[in-house]
Symmetry: C2
Subunit: 434 residues, 2 copies
């Protein structure tokens, strides 16, 4: 095999970025590989609309993905259309036809990665998915190879660029969530329907894949407690700052004696940690290993070119393995069958908490709240109140000593019946162990 042939299915942002990297970096790619990586076919709904880089040479265009996955001349199929229906069919058909597969499909791998990987191993083909999580950060290469000798105990991530952008804008300008979101939509940083980003669903899919890779366990999005950032207000950043913290939509997967606790939710993180320095539309992953201690990875989470680099790097690796006749051996989704890392409810979490209240002021409020907490065995750490003029809607904060999430939730449920609350308390974990 002097040339490895690639069929690219999907010519959207990621497909376009992939072709551009392949075309513009062709010379260096060939020098690094020692052989030629050639795109021989592309497939999209309107395959003749998009102009292809001239340097790619002859490329067959088709609107029928079946032509690509059955083409005997094609060695690797790149699935870049996204979604969980046709994409799943394409990958299954490619595997059935003995093709190796590179995919950038986050939802699909989060939901069905386990099965797809089993199938790939059985068919002795190569499968790669670097681009499915944190486009620009080569976190798969890191977990699969770079620190594969370690045993990950904790994983933290800032995995959604849009919500990180929104939070850092609220922090910087003191504007409300709604106004920052509207501005982000105007600038094209946020979708017209922002739910996937601001409700944490996008980050949840990413955490499902990353924690499956890190812990070798079968994890799907439904294992992950998920809460969005809509309730975070400028006042929360003011209180957080007073406590030497900031607020991020934090993805966390933590090994505990009981099992693996997985969550995506806004959290307070100490200002002097490197994770707090992740601002704007960036992604980051922090891994703590039993032996290698802490490592941290940071880069663009999305964008045609960073994601294109991930796809091309995967194509290069798979092409190398193909030429040496080396198939996938062990699924990154389930190398571990010891059951140590079973996902468990976030209610097992024991951390410090930040409770932010908005109340109609009157005497005895703190006493009532403190009473409820005391009856649940929860210790109060501090009460903070920044100056405010509005007696009818007075914000203040209570921080708690580490307590079980279950107890805190019980307490907060009881608090909701109190007549002086303007809205239910906002409950954020304080991640001191970062």
């Amino acid at each position: 095999m002097q040339v490895v042939n690639v069929g690219v299915i999907g010519l959207g942002n990621v497909g376009g970025g992939t072709l551009r990297v392949l075309a513009e970096n062709a010379q260096q790619i060939e020098l690094k590989l020692g052989f030629h990586l050639k795109v021989t076919a592309v497939c999209s709904r309107n395959p003749h609309v998009r102009q292809l880089p001239a340097s790619l040479g002859d490329v067959r265009r088709t609107s029928d993905w079946r032509e690509v996955v059955t083409d005997p001349g094609i060695h690797i199929v790149a699935e870049l259309i996204g979604g969980t229906t046709t994409a799943h069919e394409i990958i299954d058909a490619a595997i059935d036809n003995g093709k190796s597969v590179v995919t950038a499909n986050k939802e699909l791998m989060a939901m069905y990665g386990f099965q797809i990987w089993e199938r790939a191993i059985e068919a002795k083909i190569n499968l790669a998915m670097e681009a499915s999580v944190c486009g620009g950060i080569p976190i798969h290469a890191v977990l699969r190879e770079g620190i594969s000798g370690d045993r990950i105990t904790t994983l933290y991530g800032i995995l959604n660029g849009t919500s990180n952008y929104i939070l850092t804008e609220i922090e910087k300008h003191g504007a409300s969530f709604d106004s920052v979101l509207a501005e982000a939509q105007r600038l094209g940083y946020a979708e017209a329907d922002p739910a996937a980003d601001v409700e944490g669903f996008d980050a949840r899919s990413k955490l499902a894949i990353l924690s499956a890779l890190a812990f070798g366990e079968r994890i799907t999005p439904s294992d992950i407690f998920t809460e969005g950032i809509r309730r975070i207000s400028p006042i929360d950043f003011q209180y957080a700052q007073r406590l030497n913290y900031t607020i991020r939509l934090l993805c966390s997967a933590r090994q505990t004696p009981q099992g693996l606790i997985l969550s995506v939710r806004p959290a307070l993180i100490p200002q002097d940690t490197i994770l707090a320095g992740v601002r704007g539309a960036y992604n980051a992953v922090w891994a703590r290993g039993q032996f290698g201690a802490d490592t941290f990875y940071y880069g663009r989470g999305a964008g045609p070119l960073p994601t294109g680099v991930a796809v091309v790097s995967d194509l290069m690796r798979v092409a190398r393995e193909l030429r040496s006749g080396s198939p996938e051996r062990v699924s990154p989704f389930a190398h571990e069958r010891l059951g140590e890392y079973e996902p468990i409810s976030v209610e097992h979490e024991v951390v410090a908490y930040y409770l932010r209240f908005r109340v109609r002021d009157r005497p005895g409020i703190i006493a009532e709240l403190a009473g409820i907490l005391a009856r649940k065995g929860i210790s109060l750490d501090a009460v903070l109140q920044l100056s405010s003029e509005t007696k009818n809607d007075l914000p203040f904060v209570i921080t708690l000593e580490p307590a079980s999430e279950r107890a805190v939730r019980d307490a907060v449920r009881q608090m909701q019946e109190l007549d002086f609350l303007v809205e239910p308390p906002l409950v954020l974990p304080m991640e001191r162990s970062l």
Copy 2:
């Protein structure tokens, strides 16, 4: 090959950490690999002194490394003794005997990596060196695989933990270099002879390897302009802070139209960049790619266990490749033969500069200094003077607009003849593009 056998040469810190990771993480390593990785021999000067983890089972102990590299039962030799003499012999002999090699040897790979790699490829064996740079950060996996599709244009690094610890202590406590160094020596963070760390030589070897990997060019330590941190004083951090910068021993490799500019030296870096958040004995690498934009990697630079994880991860990768019969194909040190990335003198650098003076105060000082700069065509950006009581040893700072390093050096050379200077000006680049 149902079992891959490893011979470990060197039972110091790194060797000890490697054996511990192999022993304590044995179950997970085997699950990830799908086969057994077995240490069958260890070699050190006094091979019976060190207690080996019992779970390693039968291990032959020898003080003669030749026994290991010629043992027909051994597939991979781990060279963990360091240095550039015996270690070089060991690796050459292992390659000659058809063994694959994993090394943690920074100096050797910085000096002779190119030749060793050529030899490995010719012999069709596998060679891996993740542990040779930034122990805990899997930067080789990142550059070799994770972002291999990209074309790196700039690389920044904080590559020496000891000097980063010293600088951040000076920053935090306002203590002098000498007193912080003495304290670091007392605590065991710095060697009795601190030259390799504080003069930048250790960082230089690391940058040589990293930039060779990143640019595919043949780079040795002598290509790298190197300056240590001895002259950095608390006052420099005060001025830097005033300018919203901090100071780090910055390793940089930058592609310019003229060639590759390589340096290790203290530099001002903006406070709000993620690189400025690297404090204490940590290492970090920042890579800028033509396509994938900026990525950043951070972790423990040294230590038996983080480095042991790197060695073990390499052993796992090489063992996998061995079993699939896939040798190294292209040297990471010289895949690129285009000559675009030839190292050139740091005098081609064009950046902003920070000049810190200590003078015996008298009228006309600024005028004289500004005159020298003006005659070299260098534009002054600002003059800063924090309050001071010592007329006889008055510190102040001049910052320059971006200028060529050659011109700045010429100017500084002329300044040295001025009678009001207490010591030669301290010249630090200001890295605004981070």
